[in-house]
Amino acid sequence: MKLRAAIASIVLLVSVAACGGAEQGPVTLRMTTWSANEAHVRLFNQIAADYIKAHPDVTIKFDALPVDTYTTTLTTQIAGGNAPDLAWILEGSAPDFVSSGALAPVDDAIENPSELAPSATALWKQDGKLIAYPFSTSPFGVFVNTDLLTQAGQKLPTGADWTWDNAIAVAAATAAKTGKQGLVPRDFDYKDWTNLAPIFDGWGAQAWSDDGKTCGFDQQPMIDAMTFIHQAIFTRKAIPGPGVAADFFAGESAMTITQISRASLLKDGKFTWALVPLPAGPKGTYSVIGQGGVGVLKQGKHVDAAKDFLKFFTGDANSAKLAQFFPPPRTPQLTADTLARSNPLLSKEQLQSVVIDGIANGVVKPSHANNAQISQAVRAALDPLWTADAEVPAVLKGVCTAIQPVLAK
């Protein structure tokens, strides 16, 4: 019944949209985002207000959708003929959005495009055209609750000693001594496996080959990395097991792997903390970045007006303002001095080592066309791995059996 009602409402929306036609006069632009964070929304509204001063016939609405169902909601709105004018795009669904033709190219809607770091725009280009603007290029780092470490008599390894092996040893010892959890890969929750990329990239493991056609889960680097993760969970008890909830930012774990944009969650933190780059893996030091893009939907009602606002929203001046939450893709703004001005919570050293070096050398989290389908297949095939007696190589072979037909398409 629910489904029928949902389809019916889609049908009705389509017919309403069809009656609408091109509008003249006042324009309302809608941008979907996945952030309802008060500080973010305040900044967006301030940028919009600045824009409206020069464009009094425009109103701008930011529509924050829940992040875990963001892409689903967005595509449903598009299917229902209710496409937003501008939309944030998660890096996971970037290939789907970029290749489908859903977004209007934005080369002519970006100020000083030569400033954009190539590593930041790679995912968002097709045939040399920029399809969406990567407004956030946020490296993964490790946040550490130094109070918990002290309480457990542990020291945070530094320099060449900051390796995965040592990180897990410290996390396990802290968890055992304090009764809290050790290391939490944030937002992984035994479902979103792409959040394990900040670990397995340290082994040089890849979910699939660079051309996206060959599965990498059954290759030796991935087997080694997943064996390490499996032991960290079930043998060394450094990572909380499946179904165990623990929030680093509420003081419930010693460490977490997440993007530096989460530093704002520590504003009212009740403990002392440190931010360090990802530990070195067997392949040496490396970094992983997560991205968010913003694009103009062809199916929106005001494509040109949307492009004009995008130019303003992402221009040099506003990019610098947005940098306090979202590391920008503009190279002149990627200096410790500039970032420090808008990131009071992070030291210049942290910004240099985690953010600037991270963006320069970072590998973007895995993504692929048909992203949701592949991610779901990987998640289902990885489920048998999350028991103490799992056979890692056999499970990973099963992952490849499940996704190879889709990859090869």
Binding site: R4, A8, A79, G243, V244, Q299, Q373
Partner: protein
């Protein structure tokens, strides 16, 4: 004159049913036809293309290696739910039909989950069932090591079924109670006079006389079980593996997560046919096992 009155009566009748009829046409019949139409198309929402693809989606349905697993999970869920729900509801109804003090309190207690919001109920159970949640903490306190209910293949489906049974068993219990109280007491007296024991009375008198209610509750429960969605989405997201991916959840994944609206529509045609077939079969069977119909 009488003809004019008749016509007026008819118009009045149509006017009265018009709102209901309009709702059914707009939200049931039109979408039903459209879903069948969509199932013959390849609909890419992002690329904004809608092309006729004939029976391609149905061929995909026949070849999709996940579909047999989904159907098995659906069957397991429906069978488990119907058996556990109906037998528990009947047991509770028989127990609460006794003339004892405090039965009203228990009736209210078992019925109250029915009026609780489904999603709220399910979210609370998710917290209870997680590895370090309420149930395992309790088991731990009495020296038992509980499984990871929602994450291991063996227990996830059972957990989903039990959560759903506890939510809805009260409704069937009330229906059974009403039916039990409709059984004429003189039949029981006559049976006891003839020396029948409690089990014989239940089997020979109670069961046949409440059989129409058993039919009704089983149809409602079976059809309801095929529409289960929120519980799966909240508790397991179809996992571990695909062990709790039932048909409705799979079609949601295809249509709304994988953007394959055409194939999603094909799956809903399959769901429609299954519900239709089950209802027809149950309706035909009533002649065989429903003792009396009023």
């Amino acid at each position: 004159m009488t003809r004019a009155i008749k016509r007026q009566d008819r118009l009045t009748a149509y006017a009265f049913i018009a709102p209901q009829l309009a709702g059914t046409v707009a939200f049931v019949l039109i979408p039903l036809v459209l879903v069948a139409w969509y199932s013959l198309h390849e609909w890419n929402v992002l690329a904004n293309t809608f092309t006729f693809s004939g029976v391609d989606n149905y061929r995909q349905l026949a070849e999709d290696p996940t579909v047999p697993r989904v159907l098995r999970a659906t069957l397991l869920f429906s069978a488990g739910l119907v058996i556990v729900n109906l037998s528990l509801a009947l047991l509770l109804a028989v127990l609460l039909n006794q003339k004892l003090r405090g039965t009203t309190v228990f009736r209210v207690l078992f019925f109250s989950p029915v009026v609780v919001s489904l999603v709220a109920w399910t979210i609370v159970w998710r917290f209870m069932l997680q590895d370090n949640g309420g149930i395992n903490s309790f088991l731990d306190a009495v020296g038992l090591d509980g499984p990871n209910w929602l994450r291991s293949g063996g227990t996830a489906m059972a957990a989903v079924i039990v959560v759903q049974v506890l939510k809805n068993v009260g409704l069937n219990m009330v229906l059974f109670l009403a039916a039990l109280q409709g059984v004429p007491p003189e039949l029981y007296e006559a049976a006891r006079t003839d020396g029948a024991n409690a089990w014989t009375v239940f089997r020979r008198i109670t069961l046949p006389l409440i059989s129409p209610t058993i039919l009704l509750t089983s149809i409602i429960t079976v059809v309801g079980s095929l529409q289960v969605f929120a519980q799966i989405a909240v508790l397991t997201e179809g996992g571990p593996g695909t062990s709790t991916t039932v048909l409705v959840y799979y079609l949601y994944q295809q249509a709304f997560q994988f953007h394959a609206f055409g194939y999603g529509a094909t799956l809903s045609v399959l769901l429609f046919l299954i519900v239709l077939a089950l209802t027809v079969v149950q309706w035909q069977l009533r002649k065989r096992w429903v003792f009396h119909e009023s």
